[in-house]
Point group: C2
Amino acid sequence: MIPESHEDLLTRPLFTHLATIGPDGRPHVNPIWTIWDGEYLRFTTSTDRRKHLNVLKDPRVSISVNDPDQPYRYLEVRGVVERIEKDPNGDFFDVLAVRYGLEYERPVGDAERRVILVVRPEHVTFQ
Amino acid sequence: MIPESHEDLLTRPLFTHLATIGPDGRPHVNPIWTIWDGEYLRFTTSTDRRKHLNVLKDPRVSISVNDPDQPYRYLEVRGVVERIEKDPNGDFFDVLAVRYGLEYERPVGDAERRVILVVRPEHVTFQ
């Protein structure tokens, strides 16, 4: 599904831009951490964040990421939030914090509301 | 509308990520050049590109941009494509190409299909 030529854009700790559909049908988009395991993209968010509320209502999402070293190299991945998992101790948040080099005091302050969005890719565009 | 603290994310030649609504209601998102004049965000695209078809059907868009030097500083601008202007000589494409440092041979190859998406911001989120 993800072209080998562009998989580095998911395996390097690059910020992706996650688009969701807002309550009124408008697109929303924000930078976000992600991690790719070859099958799913995973994101950390909190149950009180807009993007969580958006994907509860419409699980269809898309991400855009480009290469900071060659900005015309980009990858878009459209997919669906297949499930939402709890992260009550912030363990998954910590995996991403380490991946992206964020220093913070464990556990993350809103651990009890932390969730993992698990996205199955369905379509890609790239250049 | 745009907070003074984050306006540099629009005035610096940073790639933004433009989210649109696809024909089936899914979000689409891609990196794109932009230029901000204090009232409108403008984008160049071609009439045969998916994002042009998307905004013809639903003019509601959103962009996300973060600061490569401080990636947790970001700005999201939601707005509406208020009008679409022709750019038959690629003059506007050229303004953006110069802004983003792209070397190419004028006029751009698809000049006859080039259009300018003129977006009025309506809502911002930032951090």
